[in-house]
């Protein structure tokens, strides 16, 4: 057992090293080429030269958003797949993503909000409400929430909200303009202050998620077995849903619907960690952050002098890799 443990710790360390490399690349590479020396000097003693401003007020926050959103979505996806026991579950399945999208578009359409920093909070509020509604609907009746009712209630509410959003977007071009950029997802050009506002939600979410892992392991043996092992099924589910909502809500409101991270990263992490959630969650967090940063850096490089949104490079580059992984190895089932 100790050999397995050492192996897992070692792989985690390697993944962390990758994350560090990705973060360095993300600070160093951009559409304006700045020499590594200038980047270092910008980080150590920031002046007000152009390159110092670019590094400190654009690239560093952007890297922070990438790590935070990637980790949040990776963990939320792993939790979501564990709780619904469904490989198709993404972090937005509880209606979080569509709830955020709907309230944002409504805020633009009905209240005429145009400031990104304002409608992000509408998005976060919408994510919370939608997730609560799905959990309540999935829990109604006796026996607490089961995987199938949670998944189906979530899919139904998501579809409803998505339809309402589509309706609004068809009526109003300004809303469409906000929506089409939001739904493809981006971590560029976000207000650095937002990073600090997002951080507490993500941290609380991560803590809840890691406390949820042992319970989720028991639940994956089936609810009856979990109950006989002394698990309070309802409580475990509620904590899981709270963690998913905080993580996904914060990430999605700030960076848009980056669905693929939450969907694919847990599957890829499961190849390395196996099905144990106590290991799967940290692996997913690190892998999610790395993937998002690498995709973002590639997006800056491939379309010079312009940039490609991270959501797009993520899927266009990450997905073929993911498919190759699925084809080559026997998938680790949930």
């Amino acid at each position: 057992m100790t050999a397995l443990r050492r192996h897992r710790l070692l792989s985690l360390a390697v993944l962390l090293a990758f994350l560090a490399v990705a973060a360095v690349l993300s600070v160093a590479i951009g559409s304006k080429s700045i020499s590594p020396l200038s980047v270092l000097s910008a980080l150590w003693n920031a002046g007000d030269s152009e390159s110092d401003i670019i590094v400190n007020s654009l690239r560093v926050p952007r890297t922070g958003f990438g790590v935070l959103a990637g980790a949040a979505l990776g963990v939320a996806g792993a939790l979501m797949q564990g709780h619904t026991r469904n490989p198709l579950a993404d972090p937005g399945l509880l209606g979080v993503t569509q709830g955020a999208g709907f309230t944002m578009v409504s805020a633009v359409f009905l209240l005429g909000v145009t400031d990104l920093r304002v409608y992000i909070w509408y998005g976060f509020a919408g994510a919370l409400v939608a997730s609560l509604a799905v959990f309540a609907l999935g829990t109604m009746g006796r026996g607490g929430p089961t995987p199938v009712t949670l998944a189906l209630a979530g899919a139904a509410v998501s579809a409803l909200l998505h339809a309402l959003t589509s309706g609004l977007v068809l009526l109003d071009q300004q809303a469409l303009d906000v929506f089409r950029f939001w739904q493809s997802g981006s971590i560029a050009g976000r207000d650095p202050a937002l990073l600090g506002e997002m951080l507490p939600f993500v941290l609380v979410g991560l803590v809840l998620a890691f406390f949820n892992a042992p319970g989720l392991n028991a639940l994956s043996l089936g609810e009856d077995v979990a109950r006989s092992l002394g698990q309070r099924v309802w409580l475990t589910r509620a904590v899981g849903v709270a963690a998913i909502t905080l993580l996904t809500g914060a990430a999605v409101a700030a960076c848009g619907a980056l669905a693929f991270v939450g969907l694919a990263v847990p599957h890829a992490a499961r190849f390395l960690s196996g099905p144990d959630h106590r290991w799967l969650l940290p692996y997913s967090a690190v892998l999610g952050g790395t993937l998002l940063l690498v995709a973002d850096v590639l997006g800056r490089v491939v379309a010079r002098p312009g940039e490609l949104e991270v959501g797009i490079t993520l899927a266009l580059i990450g997905a073929p890799f993911f498919i190759a992984l699925v084809r080559r190895r026997k998938p680790v089932r949930l």
């Binding site: 109604m140 139904a156 509410v157 339809a163 009856d224 959501g311 899927a315 993911f322």
Partner: protein, 360 residues
């Protein structure tokens, strides 16, 4: 923990025997599609009557039998009938594809979306609209007539076969199919988003109407392909129903029962790809029908997995009902049907979920 001590009520099951084949027949499983067909006929009659020129249902019937007004005949047969039939057929095809996918993947969230069909079609159409939209003065004329449906069919089939080929490794494993589908779908969906952000916002708006699914201005030329595809594919998929029935117990058990699992599943998934591609080419990816209709039919007929015929009928009713609302409820604007299917279907599915749990 409470364990019920009472034994379950005895199962009374009548069966039909034809030569060497026999089928169990459950009254409820028969009643649902029959009732659904009744509702469908009623909806078609209503749909033919409602619109800018209101025609009463008796008048509709009289006109259909050739005893009515000349102008009404034109309105009904040339404008409303093809649209109603396209709606019903597209809904049935999508629901059938969804029922197959949910059973093959043993996953209630699976739908033709996972097969890459709808996302492939959407990406292809957005490409055509955005890249040629302004140059041709919008999606009208030739591009709308031939380009969009052809692009949708080609894109849908390409997406479907990409998933199919990539998931194939000595047979088609349901779990791998789902994972590969996630990957391919992500590529195609983001390709679509990218194209949407690339183009002019007016083109993006026009493309949005199509990718939400719309039955606006559908003529007989849209009815024919779906009609023919359904006429061929429904009997074929029903032949595969035996495989589907066994698949719910898992691959090993199904093999033990003497079912040729891999061949059966490969054929069924192929059928689902074709059904979804043809349907999507006719009306766009009408959202939510493929996911919800099989689950609604499942709960209504009390079966253990989505029943094929009942799912198809439910899908037709859902789509046609949604189109009727989309077309008539808001006088000035006509919404795409894909917006209403979820508004109509989602609350009903949630209601069924809650009711089922209350009983359980």
């Amino acid at each position: 923990m409470t364990l019920s001590k009472t034994s379950p009520p005895p199962v009374r099951r009548s069966s039909v025997r034809l030569a060497r084949a026999s089928f169990p027949v459950k009254a409820r499983a028969l009643a649902v599609p029959l009732a659904g067909l009744g509702v469908l006929v009623l909806l078609i009659a209503l749909s033919l009557g409602r619109g800018d020129v209101p025609i009463s249902v008796p008048e509709v019937v009289r006109t259909l039998f050739g005893a009515g007004d000349e102008g009404n005949y034109w309105v009904i047969m040339d404008l409303r009938m093809p649209r109603a039939l396209t709606g019903a057929l597209v809904g049935a095809a999508l629901a059938l594809a969804g029922a197959i996918m949910q059973t093959v993947a043993r996953n209630p969230l699976a739908s033709p979306d996972v097969l890459g069909v709808t996302s492939g079609a959407s990406a292809a159409v957005v490409a055509v609209v955005v890249l040629s939209g302004s140059a041709y003065g919008g999606v009208s004329g030739l591009v709308a007539q031939a380009g969009v449906p052809a692009a949708a069919l080609a894109g849908g089939l390409a997406g479907g076969f990409a998933v199919y080929a990539l998931a194939w490794r000595r047979g088609l494993d349901g779990f791998r199919l789902v994972l590969v589908g996630i990957g391919v779908q992500a590529v195609l969906v983001n390709l679509k988003y990218w194209l949407l952000t690339l183009g002019d916002v007016n083109d993006a708006g026009r493309a949005m109407v199509w990718i939400t699914g719309s039955l606006n201005g559908r003529g007989w030329e849209h009815v024919e392909p779906v009609g023919i595809a359904l006429a061929v594919l429904i009997p074929l998929t029903l032949l595969g129903a035996r495989t589907l029935g066994a698949l719910q117990f898992g691959d090993d058990t199904a093999r033990g029962l003497g079912v040729r699992v891999d061949r059966g599943r490969a054929l069924l998934v192929l059928g689902a790809v074709l059904l979804a591609a043809v349907a999507t080419a006719s009306a766009g990816p009408v959202q939510f029908v493929a996911l919800a209709a099989p689950q609604i039919a499942l709960r209504l007929s009390g079966a253990s997995q989505p029943p094929l015929i009942a799912s198809a009928v439910t899908g037709a009713v859902l789509t046609l009902g949604a189109d009727l609302i989309a077309r008539t409820a808001f006088h000035a604007v006509e919404l795409p049907v894909g917006v209403i299917t979820a508004v109509l279907g989602a609350p009903y599915l949630i209601y069924l979920l809650i009711r089922q749990r209350r009983r359980a």
